[in-house]
């Protein structure tokens, strides 16, 4: 008797109109950054489908995803580093190094190497940059910002050196065809992006290494005093980040069928923007692969929408920047 008495008013309390049901709904479906982004993405797609006839075609939608896929992989790399409270300004150059190396190695006019060895060598070289970052950041204790800023310039120089500052084109079709390949109606590039996302998502969510990345991001001292092996993990983070860029570079050259000396330039900021829109915090310990995937998609969608609405591309760039600012401000307000 007394228990039912006690329980009843509580229930009435919860369902009282002033916010009770809303609180309940929020508990079941918390308004996460990811959910907000998903909604924004859908709204833009629906709006564009209504506003234009050209937007909602299989070709165009495929194109949006295809364009998002390479930068999408780079953004996942940035997310990993940002969650650990680091920053990697060299992702564009590392991607560029891998992209240019594979072109130079494969090009008939240059090294004329077979496809797989060329891909392997390019990726190993670009991934090695991650080893260097681990060294300079963990052993030498250089702040990641400075360490990777240096690499950004050094590697860009190397890209220009190995290419002779020239565009490398005429690559084997066997290689460039990959970017036009569809599997079950889905572009292969997009599949690689989503597969990569799934793997890194799994690593961050379900492995010990993933847990460590978040703990390191929240405080290195806490991580160290909890027995997390800092050397192993810091090297791990930067090597994995570089590997993802290496992969992105190989895909990028395939998609463009050529490599220009500026290939990948500016990716670092786009990638950081996508991660931040996706909820990653530059102070570490916050961010997710899903958020970054949606953030990348949003940026790609908006660029594409701009083209279909025939908005001046320069203006579009400003709009994208404003979007980044707004997204972060909204997220900050939501947190409070």
């Amino acid at each position: 008797m007394s228990t039912s008495e006690a329980a009843q008013p509580t229930r009435i309390d919860e369902e009282s109109p002033a916010g009770g049901t809303r609180a309940k709904l929020l508990k079941r479906f918390p308004i996460t950054t990811e959910l907000t982004l998903l909604v924004i993405n859908v709204v833009i797609i629906v709006a564009m489908a209504l506003l234009t006839d050209t937007f909602l075609s299989t070709y165009n939608i495929g194109n949006i995803f295809r364009q998002a896929s390479v930068i999408g992989i780079v953004a996942i790399s940035s997310t990993l580093v940002i969650i650990s409270a680091g920053i990697d300004l060299s992702v564009g150059s590392v991607t560029g190094l891998s992209a240019m190396a594979v072109a130079v190695l494969m090009s008939e006019a240059r090294v004329n190497m077979a496809m797989w060895p060329a891909i392997l060598i390019s990726m190993v070289a670009a991934t090695a940059v991650g080893v260097y970052h681990g060294f300079i950041i963990y052993e030498v204790r250089l702040p990641p910002f400075i360490a990777t800023l240096g690499s950004m310039f050094v590697l860009r120089g190397i890209i220009k050196l190995i290419s002779g500052a020239q565009t490398i084109a005429h690559l084997p079709e066997k290689y460039t065809d990959f970017s036009r390949l569809d599997l079950l109606g889905v572009p292969a590039l997009v599949l690689v992006w989503l597969l990569t996302a799934a793997i890194i998502h799994y690593i961050l969510r379900y492995t010990r290494f993933g847990r460590n990345v978040y703990v390191i991001g929240s405080s290195e001292e806490v991580a160290r005093l909890s027995g997390i092996r800092m050397r192993l993990n810091i090297y791990g983070i930067y090597i994995l980040a570089a590997f993802l860029c290496a992969l992105a570079g190989v895909l990028l050259t395939a998609r463009l069928s050529s490599a220009v000396p500026t290939i990948g330039q500016g990716y670092e900021l786009t990638a950081i923007a996508a991660a931040v829109i996706g909820g990653a915090s530059l102070s570490g310990a916050r961010g997710s692969v899903l958020g970054t995937v949606l953030g990348t998609l949003l940026m790609s969608l908006i660029t594409n929408a701009g083209i279909h609405l025939e908005i001046d591309p320069f203006l579009m760039q400003s709009i994208t920047g404003a979007l980044l600012t707004i997204a972060v401000v909204i997220d900050m307000m939501r947190q409070r």
């Binding site: 009843q8 379900y206 847990r211 929240s218 001292e221 806490v222 909890s226």
Partner: protein
């Protein structure tokens, strides 16, 4: 002012029941004009409920309220205000975009002949009020441009203008700096001079002693007692709040010390500490006392491998632990709960679950993949065992109270089943109830065969809990005292190194 001596607000036998909890049970309380009356008690003691009844937010189930001897009925906050009752809550509620003066005159702006607002008058009279209370703020300043402390001052000034006779302060210093707190206390002093009755609620007992004339203690919804502040000390208040006396609070069941488990010899790191040697036996609680800067924290960190040392060695069960590697110390069963909980002990933005498991993922991660089910099980078990109050193990640490955070910091080592726990100031920033729980936890640990080093600058705690106490001063161990021989004076003398023969020996 002539009737000032009769100015008094009383509540008698107030009871209030919420579903499932008796929030107040026959509570008496009174505050007189010209008095600052402290209201203390742990979380859930009923302080907020009492205040809300006074302010008309809740209605009492039974009991009566009197102002100046006449019974009054307060049905809503407006009633309360019209009777001169006002409250300053933790978050100030005034119109932030408006100026100080406008806030004072909201709803009753003086107007000129044409119905225009008489701004000159507004600001002049506002300045007068502020000046009268010794508050140095421009009445034309907008509220949002003021610091939290200044905002609090303005709120109080507004209340005074509104002819309050009784003012309630609910944790007013939570957001203030030390300097602002001093100013607030000055202001409260002026309210007292103007014969207002002040009710002051704070977790910080030192504030109660600083400004209150009288203090009333509530516990679990019951009235425990009212005393003039001069008649109580901190220990007395705490024991009233927690319901047992201080000796009982520290009264833990010790175990007979066993073999030596930790042997530190000649540990030195210039210039911080030198030649630190001691043994620790299984089941012991070793107190580590020293003033700030004595090197005690640094010694603990060196033992754990958090910092390097120049000379000496640390042995666990007669095996030497390599220096500089927390992972090595952990492998030998040592765990450190560091002094700076928020910077060193806990990953604040992450969940309770992650923080409990963080030092022990190795056990549940075959091939590096965390077994999520076991991760949750372990954290749920420890949350229950340690009575950590959190809505779920997925809650973010930042949202827990200090005491519960500290329990998570300790749970982290229990999750690893560490044998030797180095606790550095485990009860700073923790409320009294959680302190007692941490003491019980230390007791439970030694009963389970663990060994504890308790580093603390709070003497009663060290004397009350430890079997044996080491005292450090200026980087050296200046004395070792068995707890039955320890008193505050002796330990303080050792800690400040003024005992001449001790100095002479070195």
């Amino acid at each position: 002012m002539s009737q000032s001596s009769e100015q008094v607000m009383q509540v008698k036998s107030v009871s209030k029941r919420f579903p499932g909890v008796q929030a107040l049970d026959n509570v008496d309380f009174e505050v007189r004009g010209g008095e600052v009356h402290g209201l203390v008690g742990e979380n859930g003691a009923g302080k907020s409920t009492l205040i809300k009844i006074l302010m008309g937010v809740h209605q009492m189930d039974s009991g009566a309220m009197y102002i100046d001897g006449n019974q009054v009925h307060i049905h809503n906050p407006l009633d309360a205000r019209s009777m001169g009752l006002n409250a300053v809550y933790q978050d100030v509620v005034i119109a932030p975009e408006l100026s100080v003066g406008e806030n004072f005159f909201i709803g009753k702006m003086p107007t000129g002949p044409l119905g225009n607002i008489d701004w000159k008058n507004v600001f002049a009279r506002s300045a007068e009020t502020l000046h009268g209370l010794g508050i140095d703020i421009n009445p034309r300043a907008r509220i949002i441009d003021l610091s939290p402390g200044e905002q609090a001052m303005v709120t109080i000034a507004k209340i005074v203008r509104d002819e309050a006779r009784f003012v309630i302060f609910d944790e007013p210093t939570a957001r203030l700096t030390t300097e602002e707190t001093d100013k607030l206390f000055e202001l409260i002093g002026r309210l007292k001079e103007q014969n207002l009755g002040v009710i002051y609620i704070s977790h910080r007992l030192e504030e109660i002693f600083e400004i209150c004339d009288t203090v009333t203690v509530l516990r679990d919804g019951h009235y425990i007692g009212t005393h003039p502040i001069a008649e109580v000390d901190e220990d007395k208040l705490i024991s009233m709040m927690v319901g047992r006396n201080i000796e009982e609070m520290y009264d833990i069941e010790h175990v007979e010390p066993g073999d030596v488990v930790l042997d530190v010899s000649g540990l030195t790191r210039e210039p911080t500490f030198r030649d630190v040697s001691f043994e620790l036996r299984r089941g012991e609680v070793l107190g580590f006392f020293g003033l700030v800067g004595s090197g005690r924290t640094e010694v603990l960190r060196a033992i754990f491998g958090a910092d390097p040392y120049d000379a000496g060695e640390v042995r666990v069960l007669d095996r030497r632990i390599p220096a500089k590697r927390p992972t090595q110390a952990m492998a030998y069963g040592v765990g450190l709960v560091p002094e700076e909980r928020k910077l060193q002990g806990l990953a604040m933005p992450l969940s309770v679950k992650t923080n409990i498991n963080v030092a022990a993922y190795g056990d549940i991660s075959p091939f590096g993949v965390v077994q999520a089910r076991r991760e949750t099980e372990r954290s749920v078990r420890l949350v229950e065992e340690l009575n950590i109050r959190t809505p779920s193990v997925d809650q973010v640490i930042e949202n827990l109270s200090g005491g519960n955070q500290q329990k998570v910091a300790i749970a982290k080592w229990l999750c690893r089943d560490a044998d030797i726990l180095l606790l550095d100031e485990p009860t700073t920033g923790v409320d009294v109830g959680a302190k007692v729980e941490i003491y019980r936890l230390i007791e439970a640990l030694i009963q389970r065969g663990k060994t504890v080093v308790l580093c603390s600058s709070y003497l009663p705690e060290v004397i009350g809990l430890a079997d044996r106490i080491l005292v450090m001063a200026e980087g050296e161990i200046t004395g070792e005292v068995m707890s039955q021989d320890a008193d505050e004076e002796l330990l303080l003398r050792l800690a400040s190194k003024i005992q001449t023969d001790e100095v002479g020996m070195r």
